[in-house]
């Protein structure tokens, strides 16, 4: 035992010295973190970490042996390119890694090797690892010819779950914009403007956004981001022009369909806030959904409220039927039960009204119990799902899932990549996963509180509804009370067809349900 510890101490003392002497002068950058290792050998830094992440307890001796320095054959780069263009990214990646690890950063092919290594990793489904290498190219800028290509690849990766901090903030948000091609510069200006908006500096953001080419997708997205930020900051005094601006954006085909729909939803919400319910309904109708797309639950719920405010209670109830569809069964919509109760109450069906309201407390009993017991809200499955179903938390969860999936996928290449490369990537994914988990947890804690507030407000409404319905049930009918005029349901037009709903949801019908129920208010007041 004593001998073993002496040997280990000796190994720890001498290995870095030996490796430092052998390491090439220009390659002192950690491929995982991207930080300069100041002449420290990468292997020495990486190996213990790899050992901690991959080795099982009790088997430390198997972990990442110190690699001997290699003299790289200059043909290795060409062979790797042949592999890559020959459709073997797996072989190419391993060779390119060996190449980048053993040539100085000043080598003319160094940046290209990093670029094709990134491309190979992306082709193998290891997007995050590819993004790390692309981000390194952007940071190091060793070859001006490679940089625009790397940035273009990174920009493509931003359409999928990605490390927002590394790509959006640290690469595009911190780029020197003077030398970039126009399209990349546009995206970088947009990202830098977004970063400024996030920290509340609209003036600086505007200086970036002003440089965007009018008519470009980034220009439209920047306008949208500006309007949303203004909406968030000036909730009380909203200028009416803002609705028109959102409306214009909703027709801007430079934006994605989702963004256009978001803009139209913003129009609808603003009009609703101004009690322009007819206008809000028009805007909801203009939200375009792809064929057979179930749409968004929030859209339906908001439209239902708007129709309710317009007195179209049968249509509102029809939309609530939509929200019971399997596509929305996991949606967190406490308001749905309240609105259903309101509709029944307005039609003087008091017991169904009470039952509809109570359904909320029954459905969310566990979550309400968690709230009452002051338990950890992030552990409640409903609240957790609701919190991670939208916004930043959703993005963080998608990235976390993607990193976990890629981490598992990495295992397939253990044999091909070689021990060093595999250890690096394992460590890279372990770090990325830990960071993604931290960000997700942080965002989850914030958003789960918002959802809990929403639930508590709805539970309060349920109590009020129960009280109100209780009063109505035992209300005495005064002598001479007049008949309440029954709300006329729209008749079927000749160009319309009706499909009776029989508990089977069709996606193409989700926006077309109409509820039919006679008001009982007449009978009750006529007695």
């Amino acid at each position: 035992m004593k001998q073993l510890s002496v040997l280990m101490a000796a190994a720890l003392a001498f290995a870095p010295m030996a490796l430092a002497a052998a390491a090439p002068a220009g390659s002192a950058v950690d491929p995982v973190t991207g930080e300069a290792t100041q002449g420290k050998p990468k292997d020495a830094a990486a190996a213990p970490a790899a050992a901690t992440s991959t080795a099982k307890p009790g088997a430390p001796a198997e972990a990442a042996p110190a690699a001997a320095p290699q003299k790289v054959d200059p043909k290795l780069f060409d062979q790797a390119l042949q592999d890559y263009f020959g459709g073997s990214p797996k072989e190419a990646a391993a060779k390119l890694f060996t190449f980048t690890e053993n040539v100085p950063a000043t080598d003319e092919n160094y940046a290209w090797a990093q670029f094709f290594l990134a491309k190979s990793l992306i082709d193998l489904g290891l997007r995050h690892a590819g993004a790390v290498y692309l981000a390194r190219i952007a940071r190091e800028r060793t070859n001006p010819a490679v940089l625009p290509k790397a940035l273009a690849e990174l920009q493509t990766l931003t359409d999928l779950p990605h490390d927002e901090r590394m790509i959006d903030e640290q690469v595009f948000g911190a780029l020197d914009l003077g030398f970039l091609p126009e399209d990349i510069a546009g995206y970088a200006h947009y990202q830098q403007g977004l970063v400024d908006l996030k920290v509340g500096n609209e003036r600086w953001a505007n200086t970036h956004f002003a440089k965007l080419v009018p008519g470009s997708p980034e220009h439209s997205r920047a306008k949208y981001a500006l309007l949303v930020t203004r909406l968030k900051t000036n909730k009380k005094d909203l200028p009416k022009e803002m609705i028109d601006e959102f409306f214009e954006l909703a027709k801007d085909h430079n934006l994605t369909l989702d963004a256009r729909n978001d803009a139209m939803l913003a129009v609808a919400r603003l009009r609703y806030e101004q009690k322009d319910y007819a206008g809000a309904l028009q805007a909801y109708d203009l939200v375009k959904l792809p064929a057979l797309d179930p749409g968004r639950a929030t859209l339906y719920l908001e439209e239902a409220w708007t129709r309710y405010q317009l007195g179209q209670i049968h249509a509102a109830m029809g939309i609530l039927t939509t929200l019971d569809a399997p596509s929305f069964r996991d949606e967190f919509l406490p308001d749905k039960y309240i609105l259903r109760a309101f509709v029944y109450r307005d039609l003087c069906h008091y017991l169904p009204a009470k039952r509809a309201a109570k359904e909320l407390t029954r459905r969310f009993a566990d979550s309400l119990e968690t709230l009452r017991e002051r338990d950890d809200l992030t552990q409640d499955p409903r609240l957790r799902r609701a919190a991670s179903s939208h916004g930043q938390t959703k993005r963080a969860e998608r990235f976390l899932n993607s990193v976990e999936l890629e981490g598992e996928r990495l295992g397939r290449y253990a044999g091909t990549f070689g021990e060093r490369f595999f250890s690096y990537l394992t460590r890279l994914y372990d770090l990325a996963r830990a960071e993604a988990m931290r960000v997700f947890q942080q965002r989850l804690e914030e958003s789960v509180r918002e959802e809990a507030d929403k639930l508590l407000r709805a539970a309060e409404q349920v109590r009020l509804m129960e009280y109100e319905v209780g009063l109505k049930l035992y209300e005495r009918i005064k002598k001479g009370s007049k008949l309440v005029v029954n709300i006329e349901e729209a008749a079927l037009e000749p160009n319309q067809v009706a499909f009776r709903f029989k508990e089977e949801y069709w996606n193409d019908e989700l926006r077309s349900y109409r509820f039919s129920l006679k008001s009982r208010c007449i009978e009750e007041t006529a007695q």
């Binding site: 109830m317 039927t321 039952r355 319309q496 067809v497 499909f499 709903f501 109409r514």
Partner: protein, 206 residues
């Protein structure tokens, strides 16, 4: 009397059960949609077969025009088709082995006719749970004049058809009809036709 009471006792609980559901979830829900496909002026190009005759099989091409008055009623103003006949083995055997003269066998050469269409069924179906197709089923009744090898003969045409819509202009129609042919020289006989058509729709309102 006892039996009536027993039946009543058995029937009442089921009625009560139905009421519970109606009380808990009062009202009914329907999906009200704009009719996705409406026909107006329809021109069809079709191919079909006359499979019933044991001595020959007719293969025909047909053109027709249909005017749709409403979504459920239409008039196939005119249709005309030319048939090409293929002898069956039986007929060849009769001609070869028994010396039957070819003119004995009556064959449809061409035909013209007109029909009324009633379209009571309009619906949709899910295809592999990924897309929706719309269809329509119609019944038709009308008259046909056949030109047989031996002369013209009138017929009463009855049948049913099925249409699948591809878009507002193009649809595909399958008609299966039976023509009851009347003749002075012989008893009425049947000429069945199976026809697949490409239908082009013009002037339909949205």
């Amino acid at each position: 009397m006892k039996h009536t009471l027993l039946l009543l006792c058995l029937a009442v609980p089921s009625a009560a059960l139905a009421q519970i559901d109606a009380l808990e979830n009062p009202g009914s829900v329907s999906a009200i949609q704009e009719r996705a496909f409406r026909m107006s002026h329809e021109l069809t190009l079709g191919v079909g077969s006359l499979p019933l005759d044991a001595f020959y099989k007719g293969f025909f091409a047909q053109v027709s025009y249909t005017y749709h008055f409403t979504d459920s009623f239409a008039w196939q103003v005119g249709r005309g088709g030319y048939s090409y006949s293929l002898k069956t083995g039986l007929r060849e055997q009769l001609e070869k082995d028994f010396g039957v003269i070819p003119t004995v066998f009556e064959e449809v050469q061409y035909m013209v006719g007109s029909d009324l269409l009633w379209k009571p069924f309009y619906g949709k179906a899910a295809v592999l749970n990924t897309s929706v197709i719309y269809f329509e089923t119609h019944l038709l009744a009308g008259a046909t004049v056949f030109k047989f090898t031996n002369g013209f003969k009138p017929a009463l045409n009855l049948g049913l058809g099925f249409r699948i819509f591809q878009n507002k202009v193009i649809s595909y129609r399958l008609d299966i009809t039976d023509n009851i042919v009347f003749s002075l020289q012989q008893k009425p006989f049947n000429v069945m036709s199976i026809q697949l058509m490409l239908a082009l729709n013009f002037g339909a309102t949205e």
